[in-house]
């Protein structure tokens, strides 16, 4: 039986959603495989391991170490390599997140292995598995397969649906001691700019504003709508450049690539660089006063109108739904 490692990603003692998606991806790669949830963290690893099992991992392996609090390439490489050497897996799945993007190429290099990054779909299974990934900023797609060696992929968050959580699932949780040393990049401080609200890359709904929002205050109605929807707020480069909001909100070719279920583009013209970051969203709504705006070409639903008129009314309408 083959073994596939599904790497969880913990943040502040909790798992990010993409952790569960790695399990589901591993099952798609090989339905008969034994999927091992791997948790690398400084705390709470037993509970996180159980969560991986509840989401479909057959068993779990944890490394708990004080140096695994914040992600550093050196500490996580040592922990991950210890796990890989212990398990000798046939496949590895990680999230294509900030940490996953940093760690996976180094592991692939150490293993002298190929790596298919940022996949959004899996076709076929076993040795014939092919991986679909966007290229040219989502303007095209390619299918890739690994030559010899491990099946090693990173998955784009929000694209491969996790399995249903079932707390009746059980599995063995084992722990591995790893001697972590020689960390050459030391994190001195983390400045949180995104602590408020919903994580953009994992959000199911995003309300994004562009130049049409006109000012920092102009974003307020968007935040109110987002609050009602449980959505994250994003922005186009134009809005960030104009100083209406922080660059941490930027969606596009430079900036974040997102694939929410619902993307509401407000006062965004739809430059090709912005589309690169959001055009794969499942449903797109465009609200813009210019009927010729390019965003309408990718939108499923459009409203031509003044956003300062439309957005508050939309917020009220959503509020009314809940009553």
């Amino acid at each position: 039986m083959s073994t596939i490692l599904a790497f969880a990603e913990a943040r502040d003692g909790e798992l990010r959603n993409v952790s569960f998606e790695t399990i589901s991806a591993a099952k798609q790669i090989d339905g008969d495989a034994q999927v091992v949830g791997v948790v690398l963290s400084d705390q709470n690893t037993e509970a996180l391991a159980d969560e991986m099992i509840h989401h479909g991992a057959d068993r779990a392996l944890v490394v708990e170490h004080a140096d695994l609090k914040e992600y550093t390439s050196d500490a996580f490489t040592q922990a991950a390599m210890a796990v890989i050497n212990e398990e000798e897996p046939d496949g590895i799945v990680m999230g294509h997140t900030s940490a996953g993007k940093d760690l996976s190429p180094r592991l692939a290099s150490k293993l002298d292995n190929g790596l298919v990054s940022d996949i959004t779909g899996i076709e076929g299974s076993g040795d014939d598995a092919e991986f679909v990934r966007p290229i040219y900023s989502g303007k095209a797609f390619e299918k890739k397969k690994l030559a010899d060696g491990l099946t090693f992929v990173t998955i784009r968050p929000n694209n491969i649906a996790p399995l249903e959580k079932d707390t009746n699932r059980s599995g063995e949780v084992s722990s591995l001691d790893v001697d972590i040393k020689d960390i050459r990049t030391v994190i001195q401080e983390v400045i949180r700019k995104t602590s408020e609200g919903v994580d953009l890359s994992e959000a199911n709904i995003i309300v994004a504003g562009g130049r049409g929002v006109k000012s920092e205050e102009g974003f307020q109605p968007l935040y109110q709508l987002a609050d009602e929807l449980g959505a994250a707020v994003g922005a186009s480069r134009g809005a960030c450049d104009a100083g209406y909001c922080d660059y941490s909100l930027q969606i596009g070719q430079t900036g974040k690539v997102v694939t929410p279920d619902l993307y509401i583009a407000v006062g965004i013209s739809g430059a090709i660089q912005h589309l690169a970051g959001m055009s794969n969203s499942k449903v797109i709504v465009a609200i813009n006063k210019d009927p010729e705006a390019n965003i309408f070409n990718v939108a499923d639903y459009g409203i031509v109108g003044d956003l300062f008129d439309v957005i508050p009314k939309l917020t009220e309408e959503i509020k009314a739904l809940k009553v």
């Binding site: 992600y71 190429p105 030559a147 001195q188 400045i191 070719q253 900036g255 009314k313």
Partner: protein, 257 residues
């Protein structure tokens, strides 16, 4: 300080993508320096201007890649190396590129290597970390700030919108993120000077590599365009009606609320 910049040429961001014969049609396309690599070139020049030394821009490509190297020289880089694999490598991947770059860099005196954090065409983000691993030097990805004091390096790193302050030391590889700087445009005198700056051209042979040493570990089996999206529905009527209809459609038709 010996500074190296890893560069790739990519399609101009405005370029329309067409597929023929299972590959992206390259003929007639305009190429540019990968935008993230431009941040790397700009930062390398600034670091050299402050600390002295030399900036060498390196690319693995074909004879047309000279154009992007000349652009980097015109911005202010001192030397360029083109590793031309046109005749040797049919279908390379990130393993191919990083092995070639690491083999070249092993023979150089290197203090700092800068690269883009991702190329906007293949967008794997693998080459930087792979090169650092092969050279056994530390790396920091997606940096938005860097200051160097002797051997010590202080970095600001973008982590999905948060900022991490990281301390490390030379030799080092970093990959550059938007926000690091505003890349300059080459000046006319810069362009004139660039024509006379040294540009070395190497092939795999010169690095004691053969095709087998750099054989890809992944295979591309198909390239295709996303399905054309059907025209969306523009809602009619007064704002109140539009909003009501939108919410209703999102609930019943799109089923996302």
């Amino acid at each position: 300080m010996n500074i190296y910049v890893l560069m790739k040429k990519t399609f101009d961001t405005e370029e329309k993508i067409q597929v023929s014969g299972g590959a992206i049609e390259q003929d007639g396309a305009e190429f540019i320096i990968n935008p993230y690599d431009e941040y790397a070139v700009e930062e390398a020049i600034n670091i050299r201007d402050e600390h002295g030394g030399e900036v060498t821009v390196v690319t693995v490509g074909d004879e047309d890649s000279e154009q992007q190297l000349r652009t980097a020289l015109a911005m202010g880089a001192d030397k360029a190396t083109l590793i031309n694999i046109e005749d040797d490598v049919e279908d390379g991947d990130q393993y191919t590129t990083s092995t070639i770059l690491a083999t070249y860099l092993k023979d150089q005196e290197v203090d700092l290597i800068l690269a883009g954090n991702v190329a906007i065409d293949q967008a794997s983000g693998q080459v930087g970390p792979r090169v650092a691993d092969q050279l056994d030097i530390p790396y920091v990805t997606t940096i938005t700030g860097i200051t160097i004091d002797g051997q010590q390096v202080n970095i600001e790193k973008d982590v999905e919108g948060d900022v991490e302050k990281v301390q490390t030391s030379l030799p080092l590889l970093v990959t550059c993120q938007q926000g690091l700087n505003e890349p300059r445009y080459p000046s006319l005198p810069g362009i004139m000077k660039a024509k006379k700056k040294p540009l070395e051209e190497l092939e795999l042979d010169d690095l004691d590599l053969d095709e087998g040493d750099v054989e890809a570990k992944t295979e591309t089996t198909d390239v295709f365009l996303p399905p054309e999206k059907e025209a969306g529905k523009v809602l009619e009527g007064e704002t109140d009606d539009q909003v009501k209809e939108l919410v209703s459609l999102l609930r019943t038709e799109a089923k996302v609320l």
